[in-house]
Amino acid sequence: MQDINTQLPSILDQVIQSIPFFKAELALIFAFLGSIIATLFLDKLWKQSSFIITLIGIVSSFVLATQQFGQPQSGFFGMLIIDNFSVYSRGIILAALLICVVFIQQHFQYKTFGKNLGDVYSILLAAGLGINLLTSTTNWLLAFIAIETVSISSYILVGYFSENKRQTEASMKYVLFGSVSAAVMLYGLSLLYGFTGNLDFTSFEHIQGLIEAPKILLSVALLFMFTGLGFKLSFVPFHVWSPDVYEGAPTPVTAFLSTVPKIGAIILLARLFEEWTSSSFYFSELVLILISVASITTMLIGNLVALRQSNIKRMMAYSSIGHTGFLLMALVGNLASEPQVLLFYIAVYTIMNLAVFGLIDVMEQKIGSVQLENYQGLGKQFPITFSIFTLLGISLIGLPPTAGFIGKLFVFTSIFDLFQFNNNRYYLILLVVGALTSVISLFYYFKIPLYAFLRKGDEVKILPTKSTQIVYIISIILGITTLLLGIFPNLLLTLFK
């Protein structure tokens, strides 16, 4: 007791000193509280108040995060790491979150579904907080809390809107899978803590402990830990929840789920991976093999299963599984290069995915369907929409002259560098599978122009909607951005320097 009494002031001092490092997240927290209050009291007077508060919160968090640029620091006893990597990734996350909020607001603007939209904003902000924390920590405890914050918010997002049995089923699956994998991860973390006595995975004690730990038990612990992260990233074999959830959730929520949480998890994994594979001990070899194998199988399974989908949201779910595999490959490549390659791919992936889901949403509102066959012959009726759709498909495949191509090229480049350096056959397999799956992905991404342009269909009656304009414009702008970044990648790459 005495001990704590003497330590307490210095602990408090440290906490108070650390608060400025936390200001971007504080903005989100205040916006979170503000939007709850606004939902309760102000929305009756002015319907958009919680929406506006959310927007202000995200924008100010973005501004505050960018101010932290170029001044690496750590706070809260080393739990919070603020470096440029974290600033960039939070910038991408917050920008994506902003777009998702607008998508959701537009999607539900004229719908009456008996629930309060304001709650959704506060949940999104909470999720944003969790994802932000994921990018700026190397401490297992904080990482776990952040993952849980994101997970719980995501469960609510999926379940909140469920209108029919299928959607309820999706959210139920999500919760069950999610909680089990979280529990498994926590168990794995407890084993790691037992081996090392330190929760910071970059610390010397942690690495030392891992080197000395018994191999079999360590393998089990690592597998458990990767189960939790794998669930968040939905890489194979922890992907089974995502197609159902993506299909069942409202389109803008799917847009959010398929992009933003992944960024946070990938950044955390990148930090972990970089720290752990730099030594030549048993576990670093194991981690490299685990990630490479996960990447290879995820790319293959995601892309192969996507071939057989007829629902575009489900197809995009598998496509995003495939892209997760590619993100893992980018993460491996991150060993060889500056983080800008990984960041560029993440940014481009976010832009492409948000734009595609935006367009899916627009078409869903216009024709009331997300089945590919209902796009039959629509290219004539909506030439711009489907041209951009095709362009985004090209970018997702990774064909020039789009940003997706540049991203893929850089990832291949960094993996090749590693291969040339130590001739490890895993790198070669990664390269070959990465190339092969882009050929496979051509088949299903080109189903969109196939139905829209190549097949003839009857003129479709457009449902009367008022709320697609803004989503449409945002998606078109994002689509054109992929083309622009494909021809002038410098615009974005110099930013990430």
């Binding site: 060889a336 002259p401 850089f410 480049t413 090749f416 560098d417 001739n423 050929v439 190549l454």
Partner: protein
């Protein structure tokens, strides 16, 4: 802005113009396309007259003409080194004739699309986009730029076949796309490998510049594709050989070689006439061009080792294509297979590694370019009238459509290698080169030359037999009177397109020096580049 940039981006302006004009002015689209392509053709003609025959091209930056070089992407990728991508254009004796050919074939294709009525806006916009990509491929000297044009070319073609094609068009379009993409994604990996292996001596940055990749001194010692100290192997194949093989297959799919040719008959049969013309006239040449510009020039050592196999593949393509053509009942399919056979000569000629053989191969590409375009156009003439091209459904066309038969006869004789026409020169030089190869010691045996000659014989067989089946004898059509009245003789527009094409075949057959002079220095340089590794 240089002449080559103008040549490449003129069609892009046309695309933008076509897209911006309202649908009420849809009649003007074809005139816009025609106008821009005529300017392009004139420009390429100007380049032809201004071209200096003595410069050697291939691996010397000073050997290229009309060079434009701008820094495009410069990046410091940290440990991945400096990234250097240039907007780098230039032509030499290999690419100049193909540029002129492309502009010419594009003109033919636009002439052949005069009667297209289905969404003309999209059609002509895509056609012009394709035009841009093709010109870019032949001018690009930076591998990155080359790759971008190479891939951009696929998209308009997919839509042109897929939207304006025949009954089975979806299948043909995606098959074509997949085949080419399959080759090119692996090409991308090799490009990445080359990027790491090559250093620009002036800036010490890694570069995509193809000319730097052709100089052994620019390779980093011990890098993946290095000449010196290279111990890399994949599946037991040395790295440089692997690079050559992958690049070769990427382009060989386009040529196409047997057994990777199966996309070609499908694509041709389903594609509308103008697209068939472009496919046969230009796109197959991109394969041959790529093999010369990329495979042989960047991996001359591997090429020297592999040329026996290349020759063999060439011979197989010649014979297999010809035998298949004999068995076809669809006229368009027959001509598609004859393309496979004739492009086999290109491969055989390149593999012979003699000046005659390579000149012959290049000449054969040109000659096949406009002759196959003419043949497909001729098929289009009867297909437009009766929507049928089954050989046995026609008989005695000669008395019914005499002028048409005249054109067909000239085109057939020209392509089967009758002396006096361009195909004779091309094939004869390839055969001569292959015969000489054994005495020069490039590893191509004489029997390959003999097998190639058998191919010429077979092409005479299938073309003359077709002539006999369709055009001679008693006039009899499957569609009876209805067809007889629909099958009118060639009209003015068709004559305007056909006459210059066949005249060109005759002109080049009599005066091959018009082309040989332009390419001679370049070809000799290529031969000396590769033969030092023999």
């Amino acid at each position: 802005m240089g002449l080559l940039s103008l040549l490449i981006f003129l069609p892009l302006i046309a695309t933008a113009l076509i897209l911006l004009l309202p649908a009420s002015m849809r009649q003007s689209y074809k005139y816009i396309s025609l106008g821009f392509t005529v300017v392009q053709f004139a420009l390429s003609g100007y380049l032809y007259t201004q071209f200096d025959n003595t410069v050697i091209g291939i691996n010397q930056a000073s050997g290229f003409q009309f060079v434009e070089q701008l820094a495009w992407i410069r990046l410091d990728l940290g440990s991945l080194g400096q990234l250097e991508i240039d907007y780098f254009l230039g032509v030499d004796g290999v690419s100049l004739p193909l540029l002129v050919l492309s502009a010419f074939v594009m003109l033919m294709a636009i002439g052949a699309s005069w009667n297209i009525t289905k969404s003309t806006k999209g059609y002509f916009a895509l056609l012009m986009l394709l035009n841009m990509a093709v010109m870019g491929i032949f001018c690009a000297l930076d591998f990155f730029l080359f790759y971008i044009f190479y891939e951009v070319m696929l998209l308009p073609l997919y839509f042109l076949i897929g939207i304006w094609g025949g009954a089975n068009r979806e299948y043909a379009a995606i098959k074509f796309f997949i085949y080419t993409l399959f080759g090119s994604v692996f090409m991308l990996l090799i490009i990445v490998g080359l990027y790491f292996s090559v250093i620009n001596p002036e800036t010490d940055a890694h570069t995509f510049n193809m000319l730097h990749m052709m100089n052994p001194n620019n390779y980093v010692d011990g890098s993946f594709f290095a000449y010196m100290n290279n111990y890399y192997e994949v599946l037991g194949i040395p790295a440089r050989m692997l690079g050559f093989i992958v690049l070769f297959f990427a382009f060989a799919i386009k040529v196409p070689i047997v057994p990777l040719h199966t996309w070609l008959p499908d694509a041709h049969v389903e594609a509308p006439t103008p697209v068939s013309i472009i496919l046969a006239g230009i796109l197959l040449k991109i394969g041959g061009y790529g093999i010369i510009r990329v495979c042989y020039s960047i991996f001359p050592d591997a090429a020297a080792d592999a040329n026996w196999w290349l020759g063999l593949i060439g011979v197989i393509s010649i014979l297999y294509g010809a035998l298949n053509a004999l068995a076809q009942k669809d006229l368009k399919r027959l001509i598609a297979y004859s393309s496979v056979s004739h492009m086999g000569f290109v491969l055989l000629g390149v593999a012979s590694l003699t000046a005659e053989g390579i000149s012959g191969a290049l000449f054969q590409m040109l000659s096949h370019g406009f002759l196959s375009a003419a043949l497909f156009f001729l098929v289009g003439v009867i297909y437009d009238r009766v929507h049928d091209r089954y050989i046995y459904n026609f008989r005695g066309l000669a008395s019914h459509m005499p002028t048409y038969t005249g054109f067909v006869a000239v085109a057939f004789f020209a392509s089967l290698g009758l002396p006096g026409f361009s195909a004779f020169i091309g094939e004869a030089f390839v055969i001569i080169g292959t015969f000489n190869a054994e005495s020069v010691g490039t590893g191509i045996p004489r029997w390959m030359a003999i097998a190639g000659s058998v191919g010429i014989l077979l092409s005479a067989a299938y073309l003359l037999w077709t002539l006999q089946r369709m055009f001679f004898g008693q006039t009899r059509f499957k569609g009876g009177e209805e067809w007889a009245s629909a099958l009118t003789d060639v009209n003015i527009r068709e004559r305007i397109i056909l006459f210059p094409t066949l005249a060109l075949a005759l002109l080049l057959g009599i005066m091959p020096s018009l082309v040989f002079d332009k390419m001679n220095a370049t070809v000799l340089n290529l031969v000396s580049l590769v033969s030092q590794y023999l």
